[in-house]
Amino acid sequence: LPGKPSTVPGGTTVEKPARYEDAAGYNNFYEFGLDKEDPARYAKTLKPQPWTVQVEGLVNKPGRFDLEALLKLAPMEERIYRLRCVEGWSMVIPWEGYSLAELIKRVEPQGSAKYVEFVTLADDKQMPGLRSNVLNWPYVEGLRMDEALHPLTLLTFGMYGEVLPNQNGAPVRLVVPWKYGFKSGKSIVKIRFTEQQPKTAWNVAAPQEYGFYSNVNPQVSHPRWSQATERRIGEDGGGLFAKRRQTLMFNGYEAQVGQLYAGMDLKKFY
């Protein structure tokens, strides 16, 4: 799944990407188990084809998009993003996809559409992790309309030049690089345009710990740990003795996305 290097500002960092086996072997994807190694172990049962994504809600052109149509909807770009997990680690990962805005423009949102909700697959025949009740299934995520339309918000089909491995959210996922990783839903089956703020999975499970916005912010601690630093996986001289690095505001994408939050109290809207 080749993609042309992206020309979107901020779309290609020159930092060193993580090893493929780390990016595809160290995942949070609770539908396949709670340990980081579980998704790589158990996601073989996921069937990424055939696949359709239902687009519905406050749009003039709702519809079902099958995967082939989505793949052809816009030219594939390679984006090299920093990914910062809320747990305090990060990786640099090359993704293939195109701006979600391309899809949004085609379905013509109505003026009343303020938010976009992403519903991900919840099929207990394919996903053994659904047996545990750690979260309300299906896993739901959401963005404000301006966040969803931002060119950095990537509808993603591949990584490292190949189609997404199942454990990384095949066949189609979101990547929102200035937010903590859990905001980027995997294996998306439904995109809904709404007036109300979506009830997102982690916000419902633990509202004091995970807000709707969940922008990477070194100044706002998680109640259980500081977010000021992160461990970069795959860094040169990395491994056990690698020093933690300072976490950057909006994960280093402040120049591109800072204006979306002008005037907002980010301690309140965490």
Binding site: E21, L34, V134, R224, L240, K243
Partner: protein, 212 residues
Amino acid sequence: MDRAALQRALLHPLAKPLVFALWLLPFVWLVWAAVADRLGANPAEALIRSLGDWTLRALLLVLLVTPLRITFRMPALARFRRMLGVFVFFYATLHWLAYVWFDMGFVWADVVADIPKRPFILVGSLAWLLLLALAATSFNRAIRALGAPRWQALHRAVYAIAVLALLHFFWMRAGKNNFQEVAVYAALFALVLGWRLWRRLAPQGSSVSSRI
């Protein structure tokens, strides 16, 4: 194997060195895995958590000695209790050092700032301090110096350590709603601590049972 044979095996001169070597194995394995880069994508996290797991396991085992000894009438088991207790301290110390080293980069100002911010680290550190007191008084000379009753009262702190350690584990996992393993450890700790409570409250409890 019948009880007499098992008792003889426990009294064998090689029994203690064998248990010692077995409990050193996780440490040896972790050092090897760290050197050979076999700890996965996030080796620091894997090492810290693994050392924590082994601390909990050693703590469970040391608390299991007395219930097993009394239930199966095998006094020879008592020989292993001190060594297992010191192993709890050994793994707890490595666990804490790994956190200070690999998470905090040995920057003490960061450690001091981190502890009050994170309740689970606070209770974990408290548990380690209590363990330090027990390890420091684990020598025969310390027992004599304190006198048996005072020494025994001090070493009942192991029950507080068990509760703090479990709370530490529970709070650590609470951030990701991941309670499956916490529930397993909680059930096992409830068993070994509940057994003592039951012995104490049982009406037939004689002066023998109150000495546990």
